[in-house]
Symmetry: C3
Subunit: 245 residues, 3 copies
């Protein structure tokens, strides 16, 4: 099974590299894919909705190392969520709760195993990476996990009418699944009204629009320009149905 | 065959990770190398010259996934260019035309194959990645490609007297092949005059110079400082022979 | 043996990709891990201390490609340092001197081998990558290395009371090993006084603190905010014992 990394560790620092060293030690033959290391900082809620959308596109049997963990070193638990063939490893701070709530079959486990040396600030390297590696190679030590009846923190399982990600093109992604949305509908964000376009080349130049992005989410965009810079869009901004729709 | 990625997808977002998931599915044993994900944004012309220079340094038999595709979802075609042992997969928007024009042996194909689900904005993941994976493992479905007599868009096959890339050191790369250029020649950009130096440690401190970079291109630089920040160099700026040369 | 990359090449440019092409050619079966490509720019001293801390966490037998090399193309030598089972390949500009000084068993070699084509600005690709690949696969050509009695440049082997790295959370890492430091001690930097906290969730909100980070170094931080932005911390700033400690 491949191991997919979803974190807010950033791509410039040495955190991802250290996680990969730990994975190489515990699962030398498992492919490792960097899904995203720029998940919304300190924001398990936005991250949980983005994680759900991304995990829809993974191979049926996969492991996802999912760590957005501002409470590391505190009292939150470490968990594994099994959801329809995929294993998610991460903190019990809500991050895995949307994936868990939307699966047909979900099982939840507390991670009981602890390494000999556990740093207070980097459970990704010391705790989650070994467990992810073992899950990918089916070599989990017995007793490492124990069943839990539910996650400690569960976010509301509805679409999230907020910007949850801004990409380097300046497109702003909302936590709203587009397939349930009529194309006649409009959206507004920070007072900007946006109508639907099928894709960039269909949009009027210089006019913001929304479209269904490649993750199946509502995305606010400008053709060949940065919507985020032009309108000041930021993660957490409300995205609402617009009267013009 | 290794698969090399050349895109403007950025390294911070989840686009590259999704492409790699698709490659893992279609070519699990092929090595994948990130050549560049910060190709000039919305700029197939500058990207085409940079792609040529980079591809000179690849193994003789390779696959290059080359996607700078502002017209995605519109009417441009999807193509494969075979050039002297290397396969280039990408949009028919000029991006592959410099590589095609400078090869001794070139063959061009339209991609006829379409996936069951083709997003309107991410042909990299849905269309180009499967084709690149199949080419690397010699498993292309029959009928997936059909020969084309020529590319729809062909950029002029001469050196490009513009800045085509700025690296994180602040060095500015021009689309000019340095081997055909006399060392006595000077260049100017935004009014800054630059003479030749063999390398950084030969250059006068605080004085901009040009040298032949490791891709064989003319590069404008300052020793231990950012030429781009100091002089405001940007992609697209004209780079011209200077009277001081 | 895995090959670990530690450079200031940046993650956005094409330098790392070209190094990986060279490694694939010379050591196709060796895993390659990006440890850090944002090492302190033009700063072998800070980089040397960071490299030491990171290399403590690598597998016992590894190869480290370590290149922070502002003098590339000049007169500095190219060397291999063997230190307690690990091979470090890089320039003889002090970068490898802290690792060498702190190992129980150290051997130093000059790299005599030269490629047919050696660019003046990218020895990482042309010289260091082949040597790292050969070391990882035990296929070094005979005569490629010759023993040296010592490195040409040796930094002082004491802790470095400076900021040596700032991560994307805005935490500032000092070149001070925390295990030899009493928890009662305080630190100051740019006039900001910081007391000890075990981890982020133990720290007072809005109050800067220091803690032992996951590399074993003293780190200056704010809970859920950027200490570097808040206080203007930068690489090279002095970190000193504080009277409040």
């Amino acid at each position: 099974m491949a191991i997919h990394l979803f974190t807010d560790f950033g791509i410039n620092d040495f955190y991802v590299g250290q996680v990969k060293c730990a994975l190489l030690r515990h699962a030398p033959a498992a492919p490792v894919i960097d899904l995203l290391h720029q998940a919304p900082l300190y924001n398990p809620l936005a991250s949980a909705h983005l994680l759900f959308a991304l995990s829809e596109h993974l191979a049926a049997a996969s492991v996802v190392f999912a760590v957005v963990d501002p409470g590391v070193g505190g009292s939150r638990d470490a968990v594994v969520v099994y959801a329809d063939g995929k294993y998610f490893v991460g903190p019990d701070n809500g991050l895995l709760s949307i994936v868990a709530a939307r699966a047909r079959e979900t099982q939840i486990y507390r991670i009981r195993w602890r390494p000999e040396a556990l740093s207070s600030s980097f459970h990704g390297r010391d705790l989650f990476a070994p467990v992810a590696g073992w899950l990918a190679t089916n070599t989990l030590p017995s007793g490492a996990l124990e069943p839990l009846s539910k996650l400690a923190i569960e976010f509301e399982n509805t679409d999230l009418g907020q910007i949850i990600y801004i990409d380097h093109y300046g497109n702003a992604i909302a936590g709203i699944r587009a397939q349930s949305v009529a194309r006649e509908v409009g959206y507004s964000c920070r007072g900007v009204e946006m109508v639907y376009a099928r894709t960039f080349s269909d949009a009027e130049n210089g006019r913001a629009f929304w479209y269904e992005n490649s993750l199946g989410l509502v995305e606010l965009a400008l053709n060949r320009a940065s919507a985020a810079e032009t309108y000041g869009f930021a993660i957490g901004d409300a995205v609402e149905l617009s009267k013009l729709g």
